[in-house]
């Protein structure tokens, strides 16, 4: 069952909105502002699913994913990318590198949780 979500995005407003929405839908959620922070966080917080913004400074979503995969506790945790590039080819590429799917940015806040749940169910 999906109960704990880690949301990684460097835009503070975007993250605030996402956290409010995800929480109000009844999931647990923790926010990290960078890939580095996410890597440090998964030591103590073990999410069922990770939503990763693709465009972040220092470490982008792809680099973060490959670092996360080296950590035992999140080796196999499903990951969804949040990205401006969400054409079919892009999504195929994300799946090839180990994500379960992608959510296009800008996303519609009203269906954010639905989309996350659907991607989770579809694995």
């Amino acid at each position: 069952m999906l109960s704990k979500i880690l949301f990684v995005d460097d835009d503070p407003l975007m993250a605030e909105l996402a956290v409010l929405i995800i929480e109000s839908a009844g999931y647990g959620v923790k926010h990290c502002a960078s890939g580095k922070e996410a890597i440090a966080t998964v030591g103590s917080y073990c999410p069922d699913l990770i939503v990763l913004d693709m465009q972040m400074p220092e470490m982008n979503g792809e680099q973060t994913l490959s670092e996360l995969r080296k950590i035992e506790s999140v080796k196999a945790t499903p990951v969804i990318f949040l990205t401006g590039d969400a054409s079919e080819e892009d999504i195929a590429r994300y799946i090839a590198i180990g994500a379960i799917g992608a959510i296009a940015k800008p996303f519609n806040p009203k269906i954010l949780c639905k989309t996350i749940q659907q991607l989770w169910d579809s694995q």
């Binding site: 460097d10 835009d11 503070p12 407003l13 975007m14 605030e16 909105l17 409010l20 929405i21 109000s24 839908a25 502002a33 960078s34 440090a40 966080t41 998964v42 030591g43 103590s44 465009q55 400074p57 220092e58 401006g84 940015k105 800008p106 996303f107 519609n108 806040p109 009203k110």
Partner: protein, 377 residues
Amino acid sequence: MTMDDNQDDYLQVIQQKFLVKLQENHHAFQVFLGKLPNKSYTMSECILLKDIIHQIAGSGKTFGFDEVSVYASKIEERLNILIDNQEDSRGGEGLEIALAALIKISQELIQNNNTKSGVNIEKSKPIEEKIQYQHTILIADDDNLVTELVSNYFKHHNIKVLSASDGQTAMDTIETAHPEIIILDVNLPKIKGFDILKQLKQNADTKDIPVIMLTKMDNDKSVIEGISNGAIEYITKPFEVEKLSSTITSCLQLHEIKILIADDDELICKLLKLRFQKLGYTVITAKNGEEALRLYKESKPRIMILDIMMPSIDGMAVLGQIGDKIPVIMLTAKSQHDNIMSALEKGAYDYITKPFNADELVAKTVGILKRHHKNNG
């Protein structure tokens, strides 16, 4: 209340925050717009403006402001052309119109919001008092638009940015406000950046504050001068706000890590302190075992470098009390083989024999800190 109602409420709160963000940048937008006709803008301004516009373009639509997103994307596109072809000014075409349109639309949105919600965004003097700033930094640059854009950006990351447009103001601000990090442009009016740096390093109150220098591209000489004068990092102009942001974040993180050095040889303490400070760490030193134990309890260092031969309480006794609660590297004379063995048994992490190579000790310490950081999350 249904879930959807809840979400509408949340969206409204975020929408207002987004409008506040737009409002905060209005002044900067207008200043930049004023510079467009005679091309008196700088590349630093273009790049910083692009960073902020990029965020607005990316999130505007999600927050329900499609039009803002559309114009912001147009502005971003044209700023990119301007930045890529620095000599060629064609990017400016259409930029003026799009920027003016964005300013107009956001003003209308803010006014609509004010009448609808009864919250006056311009007058609510928004978050200034409400934000719980976690850090205070100073940026000294004579380009006011640059400091304004940087300050607007960091406000939303809970970092308060003080600004100074000349060297004298920078010195005054540092004295009164004690920022945690100082960002200095090399070419400041009144007092040049390097002269400020030198003065800061000579003053006991300010010598431990990490300094980042801003230099023009390709100026190796100034980079070397900066580093040798005690700057911990340099950033070339024009810079991206994200680059500055990640540098500042790592500086703040490193600065929170304390290294305790306990040795009765003051020269060793001084030398090591300087080396670790250059890397951005905070260093505390103790002249004897008693002081070391007191500082260990008071300052909660992350790692300790401990000389065995010290007056009053010696290193072994100190280690006996600390054990393996934090990593301890023992400093010992070559002949003390027995001491080394019993130190390791008592929980010491590692040892180095005197006379030692400072590079090796620094590398060892940094390695241990990194491994510990990883393991402890």
